[in-house]
């Protein structure tokens, strides 16, 4: 079948601002949106820029806005979206070219929450023990692939880009609720800050945007509640 695709193009070397380009593509309903982008790039305009690697929703490269919603282009099939298909870069981060945005501030926020296990105790020669129940408490937030779909769907982040954003809080959650970690207090102090978890207005955009099905808003609520337990 023929599919009409509109892509928001921007090339900093030639354009002053972004503009829409229309493409009519021969496509199979079972193909991924990513396959459509490849068709444009490989057989029509080689300069189209987008990130991608794994092509099956595990590396987090290709978050973009498709028909107004954040998703991974490799995780959605042509038959699941209405046409014409409108594709734009994720919002709130500076566009480098076409569908590629600058991720620096996103990763800076991630690093701010100390996203690594902190435990100064002597771990011993074998593994530390952890019960399946304790392991389950942070299962959901271990799934994050840092794709930025959540953060860039957040209305608070669009207006206040100093807000650490949902993805950073998700990654803090992953350690705050890990029974092996000793530094929750330090992380929660950071998230108590003006640009921390309390900026969240529970719009739930992040939860619907997350391609890994993480209950992002719930994780933020868990963190907010935990923050109240420290003084």
């Amino acid at each position: 079948m023929d599919v009409k695709v509109n892509i928001l193009r921007y090339n900093p070397e030639t354009d002053r601002k972004g503009h829409w380009e229309e493409y009519i593509l021969e496509a199979d309903p079972d193909e991924r949106i990513l396959d459509l982008l490849h068709k444009v790039k490989w057989f029509d305009d080689g300069s189209l820029a987008f990130r991608r690697s794994c092509a099956h929703g595990v590396c987090g490269s290709d978050a973009m806005v498709v028909n107004g919603e954040n998703m991974l282009a490799c995780q959605v099939l042509v038959k699941e979206v209405s046409t014409p298909i409108k594709i734009e870069p994720i919002r709130g981060l500076p566009v480098i070219k076409d569908l590629v945005v600058n991720m620096d501030s996103f990763f800076d926020s991630y690093k701010k929450v100390m996203p690594y296990l902190i435990n100064d105790g002597e771990p011993g020669e074998r593994e530390r023990l952890q019960s399946p129940e304790d392991r389950d408490r942070f299962e959901d937030t271990t799934k994050c692939i840092l794709c930025a779909a959540c953060t860039t769907s957040c209305p608070v982040f669009w207006t206040a880009d100093t807000y650490v954003g949902p993805a950073a809080i998700v990654n803090a959650h992953r350690f705050v609720f890990d029974s092996r970690d000793n530094a929750s207090k330090q992380r929660l102090e950071i998230l108590k800050d003006v640009d921390g978890a309390f900026r969240c207005r529970t719009a739930f955009n992040c939860t619907s945007a997350c391609p890994r099905g993480i209950q992002v808003t719930k994780a933020i609520e868990d963190v907010k509640r935990e923050t109240l337990t420290i003084n």
Binding site: N11, P12, E13, T14, D30, R32, K41, W42, F43, D45, G46, S47, A49, R52, S53, C54, A55, H56, G57, V58, C59, G60, S61, Q75, L77, I96, K97, D98, V100, N102, M103, F107, K111, M114, P115, Y116, L117, I118, P123, E125, R126, E127, R128, L129, Q130, S131, P132, R135, F138, E139, T142, K143, I145, L146, F175, D178, R180, D181
Partner: protein
């Protein structure tokens, strides 16, 4: 072109599991940079699903010697046994270390790391399937990659994200650094470094149906091959039995480890005929061949009889949800089948390169078949060939390989840097590369010589002529096709002439590596007149230990490939017939 110069002691190319593990080892002892064409967390290690083996004996009696036996037998006796001993012995501490760094393994009721069964892993040298694979649901690779990256963040390791290395500088046989292209700006960066590790991953994109990411194009092996370094055991490429039909997306062997069954169009559990004792959990080369045989004998399912079924319906919704959540989601997302209720159409998918850059057990790159070390250059992970996987890798042994030998690469860098003086590169060190890029930019674009056209033909024909079953005829045919594609590649053109995020340019450069990987794979396969592990010659069906218990070394010789051989290092296990 803007050229920027940096000075480091060591550079690691690649930030998958192998590169990151090397970085953790090396960073405290030198000025180190990790250069990666993808953001680290987007490396394909993150796609690994089923597990990482170590004889922890958390579920049942186990020891590393049995693990070593299985690895050697799985390799069809081509693995170097001293290297296998290191792999299996160091496995235990490696898993424990990852746990200490925070890796959220799945747990047993008693709080220890959970372990599951996997193909080819047995207790007591073949008695029964072993619970040896440590896992975190079916996203073990994701957790390894995240944990190693987190550790690097905590250590403040220096990363150059979205910088693609395109050249290495070796003067008089000594390493002096690498040249990289900054994707966002098109600037060229010269990195002075006397120790360089390549951890660039695999090259599954030489085939059409593959479990590998678009970025897996064999850059490290390609760069070194073009400098005259040989590639080892390239004829051994692993096809994983269960890729989603047509898409190639992997459905981990963990599915069969948890009890999943392969069935042909009649619903028959055909693996009972091919491997009576361990059936669906036979090693991958055997299962992939069994599937290909079922299909060629008309037992495949579907209108074209070209796939078989992976049946998980008897496992129950709870096991599927707890232990195989991601792969069953892939099935729901891409083929709209509910695996709890219906069997899944699968076919073998190009998966893992046993071959690659030859190294010793300390990750030092060897420049010939006699074991000459190339000073300052290291490789680990899928880009390297130690060889611990021989002619066929067992599942879960690669995630293990990347941490064990990644660490050893880091240690070797430290030893080398502490006993040598800094190297300098001149300001025009990038000239070869800038000329190459300018040349590509200047040519007028023509569709006939476009990257996607040449690449598509390469992938289609490799799929047809050099996949699971090979013959002299199919390989000779492919040799001719490759030579024609190579000629066309000399005129390759691109349409994007810009500097910013010009991924078309990078795809053009990667295509040359894909051609190199294909040339060496086909030439090595054509020369090896026996069947062993993943290399099956229909015209030479027997394994021939008398003539072929050898590693192949493929050297670039103008536009053709020259082959040399090196004996396998044996150890405790004498080659025996391989039966399961």
């Amino acid at each position: 072109m803007k050229v920027i110069k940096h000075s480091f002691d060591g550079v690691i190319v690649g930030a998958g599991g192998a590169g990151l593990r090397a970085a953790i080892e090396a960073a405290p002892h030198m000025k180190l940079a990790v250069i990666t064409k993808l953001y680290p967390t987007r490396s394909h290690t993150g796609a690994a699903q089923g597990g990482m083996s170590a004889a922890l004996a958390n579920v049942e009696e186990d020891n590393w010697n049995w693990h070593a036996f299985d690895t050697v037998k799985g390799s069809d006796y081509l693995a170097d046994q001293p290297a296998v001993d290191i792999l299996c012995k160091e496995a235990i501490d490696s898993v424990v270390e990852l746990e200490h760094w925070g890796l959220p393994f799945s747990r047993l009721e008693n709080g220890k790391i959970a372990q599951r069964r996997f193909g080819g892993h047995t207790v007591k040298e073949g008695e029964a399937p072993a619970f040896r694979a440590c896992y975190a649901a079916d996203r073990t690779g994701h957790m390894i990659l995240q944990t190693l990256y987190q550790k690097c963040v905590s250590m403040g390791v220096t990363f150059f994200d979205e910088f693609q290395v395109l050249d290495i500088k070796i003067d008089d046989g000594v390493c002096k650094g690498v040249i990289a292209y900054e994707v966002a700006t098109g600037d060229i960066h010269i990195f002075e470094a006397r120790a360089v590790t390549f951890a660039t991953g695999g090259f599954g994109k030489i085939y059409k149906v593959s479990s590998n990411a678009h970025s897996l194009t064999g850059d490290g092996p390609g760069i070194l091959y073009q400098k005259g370094i040989p590639l080892e055991d390239m004829e051994f490429y692993q096809f994983h039995p269960t890729g989603i039909y047509r898409l190639g997306i992997l459905l981990s062997e963990a599915a069969r480890g948890e009890g999943g069954i392969l069935r042909n169009k009649d619903g028959e559990r055909f693996m009972e005929r091919y491997a009576p004792s361990i059936k669906d959990l036979a090693p991958r080369d055997m299962v992939s061949r069994a599937i290909a045989t079922e299909i060629s004998e008309g037992n495949g399912a579907g209108p074209n009889n070209d796939f078989v079924y992976l049946d998980l319906t008897h496992l129950g919704a709870e096991t599927i949800k707890q232990k195989l959540p991601d792969i069953t989601d892939f099935v729901r997302t891409y083929v709209k089948i509910e695996p709890i209720n219906d069997p899944i159409p699968v076919q073998p998918t190009a998966h893992y390169a046993m071959g690659g850059i030859p190294t010793d057990v300390n990750a030092k790159v060897l420049s010939d078949e006699t074991g000459t070390v190339l000073p300052g250059v290291y490789s680990a992970g899928e880009s390297a060939c130690v060889s611990v996987h021989g002619a066929n890798r067992l599942g879960t042994n690669s995630l293990l390989d990347i941490v064990v030998f990644g660490k050893r690469a880091g240690q070797s860098m430290v030893d080398y840097v502490s006993s040598t003086k800094p190297m300098t590169l001149s300001d025009n060190a990038a000239e070869d590369l800038t000329n190459k890029i300018e040349n590509l930019m200047e040519k007028d674009h023509s569709l006939e010589f476009s990257v996607p056209r040449i690449r598509e033909e390469l992938q289609d024909t490799m799929e047809e002529n050099a996949k699971i079953f090979r013959t002299e005829e199919s390989l000779e045919k492919q040799t001719e096709i490759l030579s024609d594609l190579r000629d066309r590649y000399q005129n390759v053109t691109i349409s994007d002439k810009g500097k910013v995020f010009n991924t078309e340019l990078l795809e053009a450069i990667e295509l040359e590596y894909l051609l190199d990987m294909s040339d060496t794979t086909v030439a090595s396969a054509l020369h090896r007149k026996e069947s062993r592990g993943a290399h099956s010659r229909v015209d030479h069906v027997e394994r021939d230990d008398k003539n072929w218990l050898k590693h192949s070394f493929a050297f670039k010789n103008g536009d053709s490939v020259k082959l040399e051989y090196k004996d396998v290092e044996l150890g405790n296990y004498e080659p025996k017939e391989r039966k399961y």
